[in-house]
Symmetry: C2
Subunit: 643 residues, 2 copies
């Protein structure tokens, strides 16, 4: 019967791809026994409550296997036959690659290879921490189905090395091993011993290479559950098994021909019409899930109710609803006269983490420099799964993907590195933004003033290129008040965010304002009467702009200074507000130590942009600022000439 269900899943998936006129039949035919065994024999899920916090997670890292996932989710009761028929149509619940939030039962958006597996490590990390805090209530497994392509991506190595170090034995990765990728045989590209690689990284590995796949995969998963290490199960398969094109890259990414489908369905003993309903097979599949998961779900509900009774503070409900008292205002923290922005951010984050357990994250080996360490919260390690500081190692891409997994589990995750190195994790930042997850990326050392480390460490284009990512809110605060205001927005909006902060010392400015950060930009130095010019600046350049304005005041100029901690939020305000801050007809001059891209909106002529569009250079901070015409003296001079 198991084999009949697998054949049915294959058949439905092929029907979907055929009807859509696009999709990936290869993986459907190779990996169906794997996904079937996971769902039928192991997954604890409840289609009626797809967001149940203690559900087992399944991540289709090979996101192009979406048809296979959707047909399985139909079988499991998450989707309807109508959904399958709408595969890849606009507005359907069955898009080209899996999308979290859109499809019940999908635990992570995938498609770009490697990212699913990487984010799964984050989900497993979150389980470990939740399990520590709620041992009776949280004990889920995270299953991943991945392909050769996933494992070629560097991020798969990064997260696997960290998962091994952290001994995440709640993570079970199944590898659809067929030696074919899009362009053909992996002989030209990928001849490594994959299991040995995972063993070297501290994983338990199992090979399944038999005819009796379902039975052997089932046994392997049972062994994995007993392991003290994360488990990697290599399942030898044949890409596009049964197709006329089997075992070639031709079966990877295009619908099968009619002839091929006909012979395939004969082989699978499926003579039926497309999308035929087979109640017997459906019942067989669903009964297995409901017998196991239904019981577990009911027991869990009892434990949950019991927990709520015994714990008047009700920490689990608070966590699930993210309901923490976080009134943030000028009383929340003391303001120093002068402070580096990264130190100020450190104090704000530590204040926040004392008031909510939601903050969970770390640094890509730059705690010492980015100063995002949460004191008193401990290190997350194999010996302390309650730590809130994750040591990601020099693995920015892994960090981003893991933060996505952690955020998808209910935390407000964060991670820090230098702004220059945000490039390494751009694919993850894009995924956070697509999934609308509350991940906060903290990027310090935000300009050429990092100095003597030279151009590789001096961001130029990074700030603007982050602002371009749809749905990402970028903050570049000028001082501690704007940092507090930024975090206030981050906690209120619960959206993907990037917080760009400097290593430099600045004054806490008189008229910066916690509450006004949400408007994105506001006046921090009012003109006296008329406006000769408006200086629009962000981050450390706000202090510079104020100094420029005060200097030019001596020469009789009347200048307004506007701080723009978030261009993203400013663009979302009303036209009326924007015109109040930047009145039409007034000369606006932008000062920002980064690319001019995106700033042209605010000025009437490109020459009013005091920005940086060339690479930096190695030298002391002062030397570099002077060379790039960004020292205070030179900026005063440049503004003077523009007036």
């Amino acid at each position: 019967m198991d084999n009949n269900v697998v054949a049915y899943i294959k058949s439905l998936s092929i029907d979907m791809i055929n009807k859509a006129g696009s999709g990936h039949p290869g993986i459907v035919l190779s990996a169906a026994p794997i996904i079937y065994t996971i769902y039928a024999k192991h997954m604890n899920v409840n289609p009626k409550n797809p967001n149940w916090i203690n559900r087992d997670r399944f991540i289709m890292s090979a996101g192009h296997g979406s048809a296979l996932l959707y047909s399985t989710l139909y079988m499991a009761g998450f989707l309807s036959m109508g959904d399958l028929k709408d595969f890849r149509k606009i507005d359907s619940r069955t898009p080209g690659h899996p999308e979290i939030g859109l499809t019940p039962g999908v635990d992570m958006s995938t498609g770009p290879l490697g990212s699913g597996l990487a984010s799964a490590v984050g989900i497993a990390i979150a389980e470990k921490k939740l399990n520590f805090n709620f041992p009776e209530l949280i004990d889920y497994y995270t299953y991943v189905l991945c392909s050769d392509g996933d494992l070629m991506e560097g991020v798969s190595y990064e997260v696997a090395s960290l998962a091994g170090t952290l001994k995440l034995n709640n993570l079970i990765v199944l590898y659809d091993s067929n030696n074919i990728s899009l362009d053909g045989s992996t002989n030209y590209t990928f001849t490594e011993n994959v299991r040995e690689r995972f063993e070297a990284l501290g994983w338990y590995t199992i090979l399944v290479d038999s005819k009796n796949k379902i039975n052997d995969i089932d046994k392997a998963i049972k062994k994995a559950k007993k392991s003290m290490l994360p488990t990697f199960i290599e399942v030898k398969t044949i890409l596009g098994e049964g197709s006329l094109l089997e075992n070639s890259n031709k079966v990877h990414g295009k619908p099968l021909t009619k002839e091929d489908i006909t012979q395939l369905k004969k082989k699978l003993k499926f003579y039926e019409n497309p999308f035929n309903v087979n109640k017997e097979l459906l019942d067989y599949f669903r009964t297995q899930i409901s017998n196991r998961s239904g019981k577990k779900y009911n027991e869990w509900m009892e434990k949950y109710n019991d927990y709520v009774l015994k714990n008047p503070s009700n920490a689990i409900e608070k966590f699930i609803n993210q309901s923490y008292d976080l009134v943030l205002n000028e009383k929340s923290i003391t303001f120093k006269k002068k402070e580096t922005i990264r130190d100020a951010n450190n104090r704000v984050m530590n204040m926040l983490s004392k008031r909510t357990p939601l903050l969970f994250g770390g640094s890509a080996d730059l705690f010492e420099s980015t100063k995002t360490y949460l004191e008193e919260k401990g290190n997350f390690s194999k010996d302390n799964y309650n730590g809130s500081n994750i040591w990601f190692g020099v693995r920015e891409h892994a960090m981003g993907s893991i933060l996505n997994g952690i955020a998808a589990t209910g935390y407000m995750s964060f991670g820090s590195t230098f702004l220059s190195f945000s490039d390494y994790m751009r694919p993850s930042i894009r995924m956070s933004s697509l999934m609308n997850l509350p991940v906060t990326y903290i990027f310090t050392h935000d300009s050429i003033s990092v100095g003597s480390d030279g151009p590789t460490h001096q961001p130029i284009e990074q700030l603007a290129s982050l602002r371009m990512i749809p749905n990402l809110t970028v903050y570049r605060p000028a001082d501690i008040k704007e940092i507090l205001g930024s975090w206030k927005c981050i906690f209120e909006l619960k959206k993907p965010s990037a917080l760009i902060i400097s290593k430099s010392e600045t004054y806490t400015l008189r008229d910066t304002d916690i509450e006004k950060v949400k408007y994105g930009a506001y006046t921090v130095l009012k003109e006296r009467k008329k406006i000769d010019a408006i200086l629009l600046a962000t981050g450390t350049e706000v202090e510079t702009a104020v100094m420029v304005a005060l200097e030019l005041e001596k020469e009789g100029k009347d200048i307004r200074v506007v701080s723009m901690p978030s261009m993203t939020l400013f663009k979302n305000t009303t036209l009326k507000y924007r015109n109040e801050i930047l009145p039409v007809g007034k000369k606006v001059i932008v000062i920002e130590a980064g690319s001019s891209f995106g700033l042209r909106d605010f000025v009437s002529n490109g020459r009013y942009l005091i920005t940086l569009n060339e690479f930096g250079t190695s030298g002391s901070s002062d030397e570099v600022l002077d060379r790039m015409n960004f020292s205070l003296e030179k900026i005063i001079d440049r503004v003077r000439k523009l007036l």
Copy 2:
């Protein structure tokens, strides 16, 4: 004596860091014996001809070890004591991290971890191909010194897997293994068995863990040279050995205290003043190099002269000078009435590769989709090092870094993937641009019209975010003539480039122009009399713009259409030319299927930008274009409303 030289190198490096007031002493004190052994006992180099094509290469992948590299290069005769004293000063030849082109003897810019090791694989690949073509003339080794941090980066895994597959036995990696990274012990982050990992990837590995380091490293390198596989030599060291802070992260990135330096120099038996010249040690070091390398260099010159005599075509000189007859014009290729831009690019690239052997590159498992395969040129593989098509696997980041190594060796390298996935290789693209290397990144599937693969595969912000990278020339051609024009510029400028091409079919336009691509933008549809509006478009949107113009002509509107195949080049033209193309006061409307960032320069008001600033969605191409208001009908309507 060897140990005295090592102590001297350490001493000089510490002096440099101390004088500069910044730098990284930890690696200086741990890795000095490694770099010394490589240079003194193995490297074939000629300080008088630092760009000798058959020199051995040394890549300091741990770029923060620049002081150690520079003091060694001083010892070897590449730099002066004055250079060492200027360490990290502006305009010096000894910048914060190594920079190719700036410092003789530096074979690759490094700093961002992982990238040096990754590019070294490209240098080794280039050697294999050159060695195939010029077996008597090219037989260099590539040495890499890397740190824990390098090996944590995913790209180090990606390239190592490929190097193992390709059996690059000309590559010797030495690992400064000390279990400390910036934030502290690697126990929290990196407990994998690194040598087992490299063995799993097909490498020969050796452990050096002894007091007699120089002797044992020397022996290990000798073994490596006999291996049929790439070699990974793990050298167990103590970070900051001899410092009061040894074996802790405190010694990683800050100058040592005066007290520490005093005791350290005592320990090293160096009582001398800073930057003391020790002629005896210098001679001992240089004699070793000149005895070995001098002989090899002279023999090589003989062989070279002999080769030139025997080969009237003189392929090696042609290669070194990149002097190939590449007159490109409308006779170079046939134009079809209609063709997809990727197919047209395929034909152009194949025409070019028949006329020059400089084109060497491949695809990150997307030959089938990007269509950048060079027919008749064969696959680069362990069995055919003469192939010109490299199968990078699903490893975009590795591809970019390897392309940098190949370009640094004299080829015009290229690599292709989907535009969406350019995010994965952004760090490498930045390095190409910083190093000014002739790498061409080919990114296809350049808009939301990829359709049913959904938003992960639909680029929005990528085109503009590439344009922002300093020193990168971005092309988005409209048809085969502009493709040819783009390649003409690429071959003439020999600069880092990104070629953004569509999978869609377009007409070959009547007035597109090979020669005008170099101006970045030009008129492809002239107005009849007056100008009601100018439509400025790129890529497939040029055809759209022409159709819009013709449609609105029926309604009496007089419209000019300007194609802008390269914003980068257009911005470099004279103001006079720009005003001819886009006369001041005329209404310009931009049509581009991507982010509006950077386009605001061309229009008088943001509402004249017909662009995309939100993520796409899964659906058929037509459905998606319609939903995003980018179907031809909707664009006609939007333009009409703007007139």
